[in-house]
């Protein structure tokens, strides 16, 4: 495990909600894991197990009570700016509705003060890759949920993050749209090999995308098991699900998850 560099690491992270007037609730209980260079890791567990909380703590969006979070060896605290090479994709639709698709995707580059011409070139290129061409000047509210999430993904990817934190990015999409997004994400990942931490409650999704699946227990979230997913790459999001090894691993992890579903 220690032969490659760990890019994301949590060490005994504890998160408690409430206090003062409200009863204290232990949400995350001493979670420690390491994610290495180029690894695609899925974090899965029953709802309310604190998987999104863990991701948000790693991103510095919420404070935690104990433990440490490291990205590339540097300590991450609440409210602190993340290193520039980290990208985050939200579950909720956070595309800016008052900006066109083009301007949404170029947003991050605009912030960095890049000149307009260069932004346009990059945006144009990524729009072609993502199948958003023809919608460059549309406003997000005219698009379907899948298209919007595509915009959100591209808005993050255009900044060329080496580390991607994804919080159930396809959670709100229907099965078909989800598969299309899986294909797109796999395609991009094959080329750029980002280090990904992907939170999901969908086991099929986790198996399709990741190299490793960390299963969390029901609240308080603890690491229950850590599965290796060794399907060969590049994967096909559709045909992969027909293979025997997929079914075998699926039922194995499903069993592990099922115990937690029954608890919560």
């Amino acid at each position: 495990m220690s032969d490659s560099v760990s890019r994301i690491e949590t060490r005994g992270v504890v998160k408690q909600f409430g206090g003062l007037r409200h009863p204290k609730v232990l949400a995350v209980d001493r979670v420690s894991f390491q994610i290495h260079e180029g690894e695609f890791v899925a974090l899965i567990g029953p709802s309310g197990c604190g998987k999104s909380t863990i991701l948000n703590m790693i991103a510095g969006l919420i404070p935690f009570n104990e433990g440490n979070v490291f990205i590339d060896g540097t300590d991450i605290y609440f409210g602190e700016k993340l290193p520039r090479n980290v990208g985050y994709v939200f579950q909720k639709d956070t595309v800016f509705p008052w900006r066109t698709v083009r301007k949404n995707i170029g947003y991050g580059l605009e912030l960095s003060g890049m000149d307009k011409e260069a932004i346009n070139v990059s945006v144009e290129e990524i729009i072609k890759r993502s199948g958003l061409d023809g919608f460059e000047d549309a406003f997000p509210l005219m698009l379907s949920g899948g298209m919007r999430q595509r915009v959100a993904l591209m808005r993050t990817l255009i900044l060329k993050p080496e580390i991607l934190l994804m919080d159930e990015p396809f959670g709100a999409l229907d099965t078909h749209t989800k598969l299309i997004m899986h294909k797109l994400l796999l395609e991009i990942w094959e080329k750029e090999k980002q280090t990904v931490l992907f939170v999901t409650h969908d086991l099929g999704e986790a198996l399709t995308l990741s190299d490793r699946i960390i299963v969390l227990s029901a609240r308080p979230g603890k690491i229950k098991e850590d599965f290796k997913v060794e399907f060969k790459r590049p994967r096909d999001a559709v045909t992969l699900r027909e293979t025997n090894e997929y079914s075998k691993l699926f039922s194995e992890i499903w069993h592990c998850l099922g115990e937690e579903f029954n608890k919560s």
Binding site: A59, L61, K81, L82, R84, V86, G87, Y88, F90, K92, T94, F96, P97, W98, R99, T100, Y107, G108, E110, L111, S112, G134, F135, D137, A138, F139, P140, L141, M142, A152, R155, T156, L159
Partner: protein, 300 residues
Amino acid sequence: MNSKFEYRFIFLQLLVLIFILSIWEWGWEFNQWLVEDYPRSVQKLFLITILDPFFISQPSEIWIRFQEMSCFITKSGQSTFFHQNEFWQCIDKNRYHLWGMTWATLYNTFWGFLVGVSSGVLVGLILGRSYVLAKIFEPFIVAFNSLPRIALVPLIVLLFGLGDLSKIMTAWIIVFFLVFFNTYEGARSVDRDQINAAKLMGASDLQITMTVVIPSTMSWVFASLTPAVSFSLIGVIVGEFIGADKGLGKIIIESESTMETADMMVSLFVLMIVGVLLAYFVRRIQSHLLRWQSQHSAER
């Protein structure tokens, strides 16, 4: 959609208009004719006094007064359409010509609107984004807001005189609160995740304010613009009622004391047209600025 359908409505609307105007013009005469043969005591019972032209004038009378007040015809009934000299002479002689009065009201409405909206947005944004300031000023704002703003107009006239400034101030205090509350709500309800998304893409606090907080709040601000322009007009008219040397409100309040109801009606109609046009323009601007909200509009 269906133009035939639309035309049918326009036709019916015209019919209603003609009906109302006819009652207004001839209703009193007709009413009198109906009760003509009865004794006076019975007559009194059945006369609908509200139709009396002494109180509500008549469309024909109003039309003539409109032309006179706007210098379209001279006192002797001559049209000035082909005699520009006479038109300008009339404007010079007549201190209360309709054009000047309308301009005075419009001018003050515009400035009241502009000052009210900009100050409302500014204060709304500051208090909406600062928890501490909002907490401090909350009771004062609630207290001041529960005061009917119109009740302050006499004080404003005392403070700022009979000129334009008191009208602009009146419009301002009305518009300010409307826009302020909208902006405040908007600034407080900016999506936390949108702010987080911007932050995670490397936005500084200033950049977050400029690219997320302000655009997101603006949709709330724009939604208040149409009522704001109407409120501004109300403020100016009330200001002119209390004390003014010009303006449409001045004509209305003066014709009340002189019983010249035709003059009053002319001002009311001009006000109506002004109100409709102002609301129309603001709505046009608003729908352009908020074009991203219309889900159905085609891609351009």
